[in-house]
């Protein structure tokens, strides 16, 4: 078993106050490991997004412990959490959230720029990563000039360019057709295997199960089931190198 990258232990989260108070998570524990693509599955309102926010150090739990690469995040302020995200976590969002005024290359380079990486190194790294997601000829394109699938590839490139230990993807294929969705999941699976990263994909789409090394089901703020698909069921997933 590989090292845990992100661990949450007995995490609870209460959202809102008064009559609108909701316990979104009720003592959840989950571990993301290197080289593993985990799928988090659950119906709307089950607590997926809350758990993803906590795993991604964007939200502090009400109770419980979160450790990122062994660093406990309890008591960390917004700037410290930002530093943890910067160094250890990459995000892929359902709506891509690319800067429309920046080219594909610049959007990806942003993830290195916030770390203070040198310009020349950042450009070289960015082009290398864009090439790895199949966007060699699109580096100078603006998001509006790219298809949804290409924009999501840019978002993935942005998520991995700084070599984070974990990639958290929120419904990365929801806005894409089946072919593009498959391509994106192939890239994410490759990242998990060949780059030895912990990848978490939040999805409603059971077609993505074939890429999963582990499927975690969440319902009503509780992890209800965890399954490891049979190897032969992992359709389209690349093999580990």
């Amino acid at each position: 078993m590989t090292d845990p990258v992100i661990e949450v232990l007995n995490v609870s989260k209460v959202l809102g106050v008064g009559p609108s108070r909701v316990q979104a998570l009720k003592g959840v524990s989950v571990t993301l490991r290197r080289g593993e693509l985990t799928v988090l599955m659950g119906p709307s309102g089950s607590g997926k997004t809350t758990l993803l926010s906590i795993l991604g150090c964007m939200l502090a739990p009400t109770d419980g412990t979160v450790r990122v690469c062994g660093i406990p995040t309890g008591g960390a302020g917004p700037e410290e959490l930002a530093a943890i995200r910067r160094e250890h976590i990459g995000f892929v969002f359902q709506s891509y959230h690319l800067f429309g005024t920046l080219t594909a290359e610049e959007n990806v380079r942003l993830a290195l720029d916030v770390r203070g990486d040198g310009r020349n190194h950042a450009i070289a790294k960015t082009r290398e990563v864009l090439a790895s997601v199949g966007l060699t000829g699109k580096t100078a394109s603006f998001p509006r000039q790219l298809s949804g699938g290409e924009q999501q590839r840019v978002a993935i490139a942005r998520a991995i360019v700084a070599d984070p230990s974990a990639i958290l993807a929120d419904e990365p294929t929801a806005a894409l057709d089946a072919a593009n969705g498959h391509a994106i999941m192939t890239i994410l699976s490759t990242i998990a295997k060949k780059r030895s990263r912990a990848v978490l994909v939040v999805t409603h789409d059971p077609r993505l199960f074939g890429f999963a090394d582990r499927i975690v089901h969440i319902e009503d703020g509780l992890l209800t089931r965890e399954e490891i698909p049979a190897r032969e069921a992992r359709a389209g997933a690349p093999t580990s190198s």
């Binding site: 964007m58 917004p78 969002f93 429309g100 005024t101 380079r109 450009i123 929120d170």
Partner: protein, 442 residues
Amino acid sequence: MKIRIALASLVALGIVGPACAQEAGITNDVEQGHRSADMRKPFIRATRWRRGAPPRFCADRLELKMSLVFTLASRNLFQDRLRFVASLIGIVLSVVLVMVQMGLYFGFGRMVTTMIDHASTDLWIVARGAKCFEDLSIINMARRNRLLAIDSVAEVIPVIVGFSAWMLPEGGMTPVFVVGSDVATGALPPWNIVEGTAQSLTASGAVAIDRAYRDRLGVADVGASAEIRGMPVTVGAVTDGIRSFTTTPYVFTDLEDARSYIGLPANLVSHMLVRLKHGADIENVRQDILANVTDVQALTPAEFRERSRSFWLFGTGAGAALVAGAILSIIVGTAVVAQTLYSGTKEHLYEFAALRAVGASNSYIYKVIISQALLSAVIGFAIAALIGIVVVELTARSALPVVISPALMAELFLLTVVMCIVSAIAAIMRVVRVDPAIVLTQ
């Protein structure tokens, strides 16, 4: 050849990409000069040229190094051109208003001390409580002998100033402000003489007027005749640019003629100018004057200038109104820029939240928004400065010129920068408070 050398230099500095230079046939120079230039993003178009061919436009040949923060800031700013123009209008209007108000303030300040500025003296002797050069206070001539008795005093030159009535040749009259001194001393002669000479004023009845007032005084050139208080005068000299902020024309003349025109008794004068002997200590002399001569004040030109400015600018409320107008302009400008920056930032809120999600620090966000503010400030100020220069030119020969010195221009630039940075505070507060988790809910 010069162009090729310049291009090679730009490549060496990392500003220009190699492609353009290679096409110009300076590959070796380029290779020496650039470091991994192929990585640089094509940014702006530039002319290129081939050997023997005329320059033609080429894309992606000229590359400009620019930080990503600045790229993001500038593109976000220019994306909504209408909003950017509105923001610029706010900045330009605000800066031009401040510029004009402050220019009028300084112009007025200069106008009210023009006589003091042009007097050749070490000390001004004024009646106790005199507020300015134009103050119709009086000093007894007996004081002159006491002043001359002070060891370090070389000369004491009486000056008479006051209003009188200029009788127009075709009938009627107009007020004038008479400035009389012993012309031979050169203590307070007319300056910028364009016709005649200052020496001509030693003749009885000779006066100097400014050409801006020729029509108003009903006289054309040197030699023209008129009357002051029924006494005949002849124009002996014509000056250029000696305008009065009171709009009443200055008329220079000899001391005794001035006395007659104003109707001042022989034993009284308005002010006295004291010239000191070489090497005299001005402060010691001043103490001697105060000890030996009663009912007068001895002021250095700088002190008298400051006193006059203070009276005209703040004693009358004129300066306060200008300063208040300038402050209001700053407030309005700040509000306009703040509103446009805030709304622009709000439009990109999810993108900024994504930036926070990927780990951007607060300082990184500050840099983006402040870069937008600074860019607005620089562009807005550049336009405002051009307008300001035009206003200065247009008002240069008016009764109240707008005076914008290089120092004022520099201060206004700083003010514009500060105004825009202050304007960015609301936008910054909005962005740093944004919950990065909102990107997961949209």
